[in-house]
Symmetry: C2
Subunit: 494 residues, 2 copies
């Protein structure tokens, strides 16, 4: 009985670990950016697709790409209350937008146009350990073409990505799309006489370190091993020096322009048919980009990019922002990658047994938004509404009429709805709301048919800078006829 | 060993039961509607809030409003892999947008402006038995003001709801917002001498049947009982006939205008102080709506609306669409309710122990969208892109240049990316894509510097209606100089 009377402890008002809320401009700025990107996707013939957040674990596949622990990384649960008894399906939150596309492409293969171009924008969930700036729910923004084996589809995606970045606000010259081809790499491995599987993976992992350790470092890592900066010895892959030749030729094949790079690559792949096919595909992509008006200053063949290669089967691409920003420690660094993608064939095969060629790109929503903010293109303090203050509680209808008139004129406005007793609190509220203007009408003003209109932006500047005389003159506050309220507010807002 | 060699069965390509996908116009039309509503909310000083889909079960509360089985109705799971061991938190998908608002209002109470006006739009999840047209993931669209005890907040929400419906496309005259007050009902119960708890609930349930059974039916149900149309006897609540008086006065209090309704209500609540307060609040709301230019043709006091009353503590409101549509069986019926809300005080109290007054509205996204479609305001077949067909596979760059030029001119366009061998398939594809125009250029045309531009809309009409002579004249297909491609497509698109 004593137990029954014990009060329940209060629940904690907290987001689950690794989740967060988005307020005001955080929501509208992301939306604005995604709307701009969607415009470009739409203009390229892509159709929106919104799948549900929940999929069966069976349809989703039991693991994330590049993670081979079953069930790792997803939020999953088993259906209960199954009609007719028995154990229910396992359901899970989608971990990306590609797995649901695979399911849709299989489920609706007789109804969808083929090729099927679709874009998708929305949250995905990862059951991973959260860290600073790493959340377990985040947005993805994907565009894919399913059912086209032509590298024209890849070229189109690259051109569209360039247009999307520019339409979102990234200036030409501030980004570069770099394009490579998995087949070229396979050709290089063939030319080296390295077998698929672990030996090839070892070589690919080493290639990925080229940016960090350079040509000599890669040569050492491919052969006998290398001492790193800390003095620790990293074991080599164990290739003979002559075997390392093709991969080094490949890594240093970037020329002054696409033509030179392609010529270097042709030499590097030697007699490998796969390699030659890969180079030919890159040549076609380069030709088509040029035909679409996308110059090498915007998208360029670059053999140094290596993306999750186990997943991709043909062209791969990555968009990098080339301007510098200051990092947490105030050091300059390049902003880096904001989007990537490529061609993959296994998409629908899991479901139907048929290989369906597909290619696509994913834009890192949070990173691109951070880039736009870093360039000052977003994230200025958003202007709040005009605040109509309340001097006489019983004249609330009058204040609401003022706000309604302002809105009618397209001006964002609200009446103060807290306890109006303390007028200072109302001005503090207006300040917190980032209000550009406050409207004030006491009984005396109402009787005279006027309102006070206070320019809060000018007021703040005067408070910070003005002399006592200027301040006393109160240039930031104007009395106007009630009928002129909208005109005066409009004048102040400019 | 034989077992290991057995092939894994293929996964089923299916959405989980009760979930669905949204394609093309389904996505863009909803987005367009929500964007229009958001514009109005923003203009009224409301700020967007996007909470995560996942909350702790503790913060969410263990049950849906109006459902008192613990954990019923939500998708929930327990966190695994807790760092440091121990059993993890129970997490769940949000079942509405109000519970997360409560958590946010408590968690950020020192940072948010007070009052806090916020809107939220997004999916919510219900672990319920799906039915035809009933899905386990659906959109909600809410606006709430937290921290204002003033009925000015309720009036503002009603005015904003009217503006939002109109901005979304519902014409004035096609909707009506009806407003009631829980306090008036409480006053009626007081005047009847009915105790809170079960007796009051019995009376409220009976009131809810007024629309169906009328005044006499309610009188019977409140007293001795009633035979329904099937002849079954429904037991009465057991009140004395004179006790039923106030509630019948209340139910029939709707007058020719707000003034008459309010006067009838004042009489119905008799000496109840709570009832008088409730009527006074309704009078204030009526006055403020009028000041904001919202006439009784748009929002009106109506005692007959009764909404999930256990939850609400003051004014309640409901928006009804008043035009008729044909139901599944071809019968005319009123479209009915598309939004509702009211004042509630328990929101933040669970977390902090402090009562925080709040009021808000929720628009039924799917219902409003259905209404716009029923009125022909949305859901016309969306026009597809211009399709540039592929006659010569090796001239893909030329075709992509055409599409790029069209897009540059703001025209939605795409190149056919399937296997181009069968030209008929390309035209079938264009048809499936709802393409208004197809562009065709074979080697001969390329040599002469021209393109064929086919008006598919006109072509379809001719195929359906034209005589053989008209058809032979092929007025739907025009040959133009390559340089005039964009101009010709623009001419056809009008």
């Amino acid at each position: 009985m004593a137990k029954d009377q014990k009060k329940q402890p209060r629940p904690k008002a907290e987001t689950p670990k690794g989740f967060r809320d988005y307020f005001g401009a955080d929501v509208t700025e992301r939306k604005q950016m995604l709307d701009r990107i969607a415009e470009i996707y739409h203009r390229h013939g892509f159709e929106p697709l919104e799948t549900s957040a929940v999929e069966t674990v069976e349809a989703l596949g039991k693991f994330l790409p590049d993670v081979d622990r079953p069930n790792a990384g997803v939020f999953a649960w088993q259906e209960s209350d199954v009609p007719g008894g028995g154990s229910g399906d396992w359901l899970a939150l989608r971990y990306d937008l590609t797995a649901p596309l695979a399911r849709v492409a299989a489920q609706f293969r007789n109804d969808l146009p083929s090729p099927y171009r679709r874009y998708a924008m929305g949250p995905v969930w990862r059951n991973e350990k959260p860290g600073p700036g790493r959340f377990r729910q985040f947005y993805q923004c994907d565009a894919d073409t399913v059912g086209s084996a032509s590298v024209a589809a890849d070229a189109e995606i690259c051109a569209m990505l360039a247009a999307a970045l520019e339409h979102a606000g990234i200036a030409r010259g501030d980004y570069l799309i770099r394009i490579n081809n998995r087949k070229v790499l396979n050709g290089i491995l063939e030319a080296m006489g390295v077998a698929q599987g672990k030996p090839a993976d070892d070589v690919l992992r080493t290639i990925d370190k080229f940016d960090k350790v350079g040509e000599d470092g890669v040569r050492q890592l491919l052969t006998t091993g290398r001492k790193d900066d800390s003095g620790a010895f990293i074991e080599g892959v164990g290739l003979a020096p002559e075997q390392a030749g093709p991969v080094l030729a490949f890594l240093t094949s970037k020329g002054a322009d696409n033509a030179e790079t392609l010529s270097n690559l042709r030499a590097a792949v030697g007699a490998s048919a796969t390699g030659a096919e890969g180079v030919e595909e890159l040549a076609q992509i380069a030709e088509m980009l040029s035909a679409m008006g996308v110059g090498e200053d915007r998208a360029v063949i670059d053999p140094s990019i290596v993306r999750g290669l186990g997943y991709y089967t043909g062209p791969v691409f990555e968009a990098e922002l080339t301007f510098e920003i200051l990092d947490d420690k105030g050091r300059k660094r390049q902003f880096g990658s904001v989007a990537g993608g490529g061609r993959y064939d296994g998409l629908v095969e899991r479901f139907t047994g048929q290989k369906v060629p597909a290619t696509g790109v994913s834009i890192g929503v949070d990173r691109l938004l951070a880039a736009l903010r870093a360039k000052g293109l977003m994230g200025g303090t958003a202007q709040g509404p005009v605040v109509v203050t309340v001097m006489d509680r019983e004249r609330m209808a009058d204040y609401q009429a003022m706000a309604a008139e302002l809105r009618q004129a397209g001006i964002r406005a609200e009446v103060y709805l807290g306890n109006p007793k303390n007028f200072g609190n109302q001005l503090k509220y207006a300040d917190k709301r980032n209000a550009p203007v406050a409207v004030i009408q006491g009984g005396d003003e109402a009787a005279r048919g006027v309102v006070q209109v206070k320019d809060l932006v000018l007021g703040a500047r005067i408070a910070a800078e003005a002399s006592h005389e200027e301040w006393k003159a109160q240039p930031a506050q104007t009395e106007v006829a009630r009928a002129d309220l909208v005109a005066e507010v409009r004048r102040i807002l400019g």
